[in-house]
Amino acid sequence: MILDLLTDLMAKAEGRCAYAEARHVEHREEALAVRAGTVDDFAASSAEGIGVRVRVGGGWGFAATRDVSAAGAEAALAQALAIAEAQPAGAATPLTPVHPARGHWASPHEVDPFDVSLEDKLALLFAAEAALRTGDERVVRSLAALRAWRERKALASTDGAACTQELVATGGGIAAWASDGSELQMRSYPLAHGGLFAAAGWEHVLALDLAAHAPRVAEEAVELLTAPQCPEGVTTVVLDGEQLALQIHESIGHALELDRMLLQEASYAGTSWVLPGDLGSLRYGSEQLNIIADATLPGALGSFGWDDEGVAARRFALIEGGVLRGALSNRESAAAVGLERSGACARADGFARQPIVRMTNVSIEPGGAGSLEDLIADTDEGLYLETNRSWSIDDRRLQFQFGTEIGREIRGGRLGRLVRNPSYAGITPRFWGSLDAVCGAGEWRLWGLTNCGKGEPGQIMSVSHGAAPARFRDVQVGVA
């Protein structure tokens, strides 16, 4: 059994380093895409290996191997030790204590997506993609895609961890591109950049009902070709839940990663405008802003039993009533600022990457603005922006600029005409300070993102954000 192998390895690491952990990861994935009535992408992959991380003095070393035998694991341990010892000497810093992780955790799902036949999957995609091709020749590309993955992990450490976990995730989406030769527009559903994913089974894909939404998606892409350009100015903006999820991800989630605050990511992902000393006192946004980090949320991609340092999953407040209350941390960063325990945010991308501070599911709490219809009715003038198209933010997570696929004018409490190429920009605390309404629980849902990059070598991580549509005042729009 692989956990026994890892536990034996940790016994061999004792006395050779201050700390060691070994993870075995087995990842299986399937990706399918249909374009123009034919299968555009059909790829299945699997990868398995062991990653060993050690601490010698103040230095860390990590080695990964596809050789999952005892000899292979021992060779990886030896290489990790050699790598750590070759680093210039650094001061040993403490790690927060951890209760030994023991047991098994699995994400919930009803129908294992790997038990669904290829024929059924393709039939769903062919139907959805065909419905995108409405006959309008301005639709130059139409795509329907699915992806499913399963990850089984085992972890042992010299701090007593010996646990196993299994995550099953799936999702999909559709997109249409329209062009009139000079202009190019696209629309997607239910989420841009590949679709909406969840820690769930095939039932999640069926619930998306891709084919039913396809005609609208294609028609909106065409309609955008002749829509007026988003006007430049300052106005009220209502963001749909999907765009708000990305706004939270970029301007709150990353900014509250404690390793960034401590300058550990300064050479790549960047730092943060938030300082460790701001915890408990910084006004991050308006009183409407309540943000939770929750790795226990069922169906969310950032949920687990234990993080990749063996710290049990947690739910805690990051921002309450607009005031900063917490940060996302691992054992090392938490100890560096005097926290009693880790935020359980150490996550690694596969067996060949080491755990770094990553978001768990960072969500905005539902507010009191009722339904989206209620919120629009309560808005005299502004823009309703849907579905992310582009995103960019500075290395301290302050100045941002986002574009969405579509915008709709709001006049007199009603949605009006479409505008194309909508964009908005702001400065993080000012923008969140302008938040004056968040829709209620009936509009709140999880938005699963699968493309969060961080670390060197690069790591891609999946995470979900709970969000409901929200309104912001005095926002700069039409900047792109």
């Binding site: 374009r35 398995e48 024929e119 030769g181 300064a266 900047v479």
Partner: protein, 456 residues
Amino acid sequence: MSESVLDLAERALGQATGEAQATVTRERSLVSRFARSTPTQATGVDDTSVSILRVHDGHTGAAGTNELSDDGLRDVAARADAAARAAAAAAGEPGEYPGLPEPAPARAHDGFDAATAALDPAVAGAALAAAFAVCAERDLEAFGIWTAGVVETAIASSAGVRARDAVTDAYMKVVARDAAGRTGWAADAAVAAGALDPEAIARRAAAKVTSAEPVELAPGEYPVVLEADAVGTLLDFLGALAFNGLAHAEGRGALDGRLGTRVAASSINLSDSPRFARTLPRAFDLEGVPKNPIPLIQDGVAHRVVHDTRSAARAGGGARSTGHAVAPGGSGFGPHPANLVLIGGGAADETELAAPIDRGLYVTRFWYVNAAHEKRTLLTGMTRDGTFLIEDGRITRPVRDVRFTDSALRILEATEALSARQRLVADAAFYGRRFATGVVCPALRAGGFRITGQTI
């Protein structure tokens, strides 16, 4: 003696039936990170993976694994076969994939260095120590990475392709930072780790940190000098937005209807040149098609786009793969030119480029660049780690980082001068399997660079 990657590819192909391609990739790499002049993370990777592409009636299916036993390879071949057959059955008619490329001779290159392939962690340790020492001289802290890797690729196909390539790459970057948070950045990439000079990289980074308070710059259009690192970022985006043959064939590309027309200043000569000096060469693409130089923009006139087998079939009109497949069978995102080279000009250096500018901007590098409108090559992003004001022809004071929103093609159209010296610009992010690429380019001066915001 361990099995060679080509022997492994042969063994994998032997498990497949019908028209198929086996691709083997073996990576060994080392990354050492540092922050606050202290080592933070060090990662060693040793992994080998096999993918099998199966072609059935013009439809493709692919499967991959790093479980290299005969049973593992047999399983992956069966999954690829099932995928291709299911795709054909679902479509109900022949697909458009024209078939695996025929064998063709690939030219040798000098992209492998045996000493780098040894991946000695002590070399990394010494590089970090050198950077720490340089920064300490000026009371600065050093942040960055040193990394080196060796990647072997082998392809065996039922069409008769038998190809093996081995490349090494090395990269180091240093961000020097003072107590007030002012930063300077420098980086170099090369085939050989021995070609990197950690001390010199750190000195370049440290020289960008000045004690002056950064000034603000109002939104507007400014003349700009872009260092090679910033130019490389723009060109890499152009590779995806303008020269991607799939996007072009579908009418989504920025050069749709513009090939053969002037799209840039006459001084712009851009090519994909896999064996150009200082580039990171490769012998063939991931369909086994040999890589050869391709002119993309000549004297400012858009000349060609690049293709893999799939995009060439989509384009029709006799288009053929140009050796730019980034996945076996071609990627759904299209081909990509991974060896872009922009020819330099007559300016001695960045200082000479700045000389004619009364008031403008000097940019070391861009950060978090993303496409705001793909067909217009409209990009937005921030400056970072060395943004300065140009006043009366001289690079003077630091500027608080600004946001630009501008078209990459427009910047090339407004290019007034280029430096003679080119650099290999890489970012070494390495998401997934290590696939080192870089752009060889000079610094340039352009007019009307559009600033749309500024951080605080």
